[in-house]
Symmetry: C2
Subunit: 474 residues, 2 copies
């Protein structure tokens, strides 16, 4: 027996032969990534059924010195789950709801549960699990937690990290840390769960979690706004944040080119406002108060904003169907971009006070670099997080445009860093931004990250080659 | 020159001789702890003026192998800042407000700023820094962050950890990590700040922080409630949480003995309700909406709760003065306990759904252990956090009662752990709960904590002997 057939036999003992995939067609979906920019390779895909099996698989691989790349729904945007050898450990079969405690407002789920199923379980209990993002029908909660996912509900409820009370984690040597507590306050030693949230499977594998639930809003009001500028959008945001407080559940931004291409390509999309504006925003206000219509909360706030000249036009959704239609305009933006050719994407954040400056400087710099380039900027304005995407000039060769990826990354990221922002706001680092992290991060921070990696995964078994830049790179 | 005089001379070079304190009277306040249960000892107290001086002091001590114990306001409850040799590094002179960005809703402060001063700076900008606790007039923000402090505003705004956007930290070897970003979303590598929040100065010294500000409520309504039981308190809490959502800014619990001793010892305290009840709660609802009176929000919710039989009696504060008086009843509880003799204290949390069971079991077990013992249970009910304090039997010898400390700890903590709770909810571990942490923590968790400590502070310079139990203890 070769080393690798010995390994596969040993893995089959842990999970059953049917759950060790080795044929190319079976492996294919695990070796692809969402953007189709790269392709991975792996010895096998292993699909354990429970935490003990995950632990057995990791222990076996650790002993053999074989890398383990965890995958949930494989929906990431930065190649964080892409294997470069070793095995793929799929958490998809760990998809049980372990417990739901409505009084404690907590839910205990396994890593492989699809995000939409977690949302549905909360809804069935009359509560809200707020994490919400485009891939919620196929992404899995373990991946959401391992990447500290963001999405459209961060403004009021925080990132994935903020929704976690406890974790169960398989460590690099196959031991299991059971930190599945459902507590709002716990200072009994270091807060170990923080290590594994957002570390993209490089320090440990999340197998289960206790998540926070929130009271479920009974009414929401959604408005689509036409604005004179990004500066006006920011002034409006500041006004609404002050008045609506935690009831302000979304403030999303769409630049004119974004709205234009949604209307061009999205089936059934209708122009929400009669006129043209320099900037658009989708705003949502929610309320948990019985008998209250969120529209009656939002309308006077908008009226005051209008009196101050902060908005040019506004249309309030008259029904839940219209609210969904407004949200669809925003949420189909990533998808419709494909119809406009190749895109070079940036997922960045800056302090809110620097948002207009970022948009202006980055747009100007990119347009100057390549005439005809079309900036498609949109995103979670209220979180300071912009998807600063670049659509290729009409008629340009696709590959020639994509060859400029690194050059545009550098232009955009240098502006982000000059404004004290982040080059990886909600999608993580993975493979795609690893070199940029190496180029731009504080050397002390990088050294601390390497220290953590070496301490928790001394043999470099867990998702090697992700996040941390190659120390030998120039 | 001896080793220690060489060290002191070297420290004086960094901070100036006037800021190296060595005389017993100068040292005394730094060697005491709030409860007067223990006394520390130190070579010197060093008072650097800025981050560079802190770094120089730590580097010098690291090279000499001398422990460094950081202190802010020295107001902790668990001896976390008590030196056991080495030097005390006081952050008190690092007390500058570095920046306030009202649009980004963030404030950048140095570690030595008094919490009340941070609150005031936020208020002056029309915003709220919500962290609030009894010692806010003297505790310092660096200590609050290093202990992940809790307090009375956790229900709506989270613990200290949740209020931090960025940190500046001096590491164990004297290097400075500058992580002072003011971003709501940042996944550019591991979230390093989490390591230092709540680690009580054992992994690094916080020298500055970027903190989140919140919209400032324009109106609040405070009600004092008489309830039939802890079960009724929980049902009421669940109802108000669902209806008021993030507008529910406090839900505090007071057992009858607590109210009784406040009324007995607190100057000016007046009985809020005519009758006697088995449990009391202080509830606060706040609103940021212009022109809205929070009382009009809270009253119908209370009426519905009363109709469901969830409360026996309620008195709404008719003025801000009365609201403050109600809060004073709750906040003077720790203080008045001193007038009833010695106390053995527990700062514990359990899942909310287990709170009534915890209160009943722990009360029964403690009263059975020592007839005449008086349970003084109160605290942050909505966070699942109870200060389960035990007042000595009337007439018992103080020292004889305090000699039972470990025995009562074990009784209470074993019940907490059986209910999946924490033995250190908001005050931390420090020196006082180190042995209990060792007795009760999961060995894998302890091993992970030791791994972190060894990785970040391999020479064990930073606050040695705190949090982590002695590995050689039985």
């Amino acid at each position: 027996m070769t080393d690798s057939s010995r390994l596969l036999a040993s893995l089959a003992e842990h999970v059953g032969a049917a759950h060790v995939l080795v044929n190319a067609p079976d492996l294919a979906p695990y070796l692809a990534e969402t953007r189709g920019l790269r392709r991975g390779h792996a010895l096998a895909v292993v699909r354990p059924a429970d935490t003990a099996e995950v632990a057995g698989v990791v222990r076996t691989c650790a002993e053999a010195g074989v890398p383990v790349v965890a995958q949930g729904g494989n929906t990431g945007h930065v190649g964080g789950g892409l294997p470069q050898g070793g095995i793929v450990l799929s958490l998809a079969r760990l998809n049980r709801l372990r417990a739901l405690d409505p009084v404690n407002a907590s839910i205990t789920v396994e890593a492989g549960m699809v995000l939409a199923d977690v949302q549905a379980a909360a809804r069935d209990a009359g509560m809200l699990f707020p994490l919400s993002l485009a891939s919620e029908g196929s992404c899995r909660i373990g991946g959401n937690l391992s990447t500290n996912a963001g999405g459209t509900a961060v403004l009021a409820y925080g990132n994935a990290r903020d929704l976690v009370l406890g974790l169960e984690v398989v460590l690099a040597d196959g031991r299991v840390w059971n930190g599945l507590k459902g507590l709002r306050k716990d200072n009994a030693g270091y807060d170990l769960k923080q290590l594994f949230l957002g570390s993209e499977g490089t320090l440990g594998l999340v197998t289960a979690a206790v998540l926070k639930l929130h009271p479920r809003p009974l009414s929401r009001s959604v408005v689509f706004l036409g604005l004179a500028s990004a500066e006006a959008a920011l002034a409006l945001f500041v006004a609404l944040r002050a008045e609506a407080g935690a009831g302000l559940t979304a403030f999303e931004y769409v630049a004119p080119f974004g709205l234009e291409i949604v209307l061009r390509h999205r089936a059934g999309a209708r122009r929400p406002l009669a006129g043209r504006h320099a900037a658009y925003a989708l705003v949502e206000v929610s309320t948990t108060r019985p008998g209250e219509d969120a529209g009656t909360v939002l309308e006077p706030m908008l009226a005051r904003a209008q009196a101050r000249g902060l908005l040019e036009d506004a249309v309030l959704a008259a029904s839940e169907a219209q609210a969904l239609a407004f949200w669809d305009l925003r949420e189909s933006l990533s998808e419709v971009q494909k119809a406009e050719g190749a895109s070079i994407k940036h997922d960045v954040s800056v302090p809110l006070s620097r948002l207009p400056e970022f948009l202006a400087r980055a747009t100007r710099a990119c347009e100057a670099e390549l005439p005809g380039l079309r900036v498609c900027a949109f995103g979670h304005f209220g979180d300071g997080n912009i998807h600063f995407n670049l659509s290729q000039p009409v008629g340009m060769d696709r590959a020639a445009f994509l060859a400029l990826w690194d050059r545009f990354n550098r232009i955009v990221h240098d502006i982000v860093l000059a404004l004290d922002g982040s080059i990886a706001a909600e999608h993580g680092v993975g493979l795609l931004k690893r070199a940029e992290l190496g180029r731009t991060a504080d050397p002390v921070a990088l050294d601390l990250m390497r220290t953590l990696k070496a301490a928790l995964d001394p043999r470099n078994i867990l998702n090697p080659g992700k996040i941390l830049p190659d120390p030998t790179a120039p």
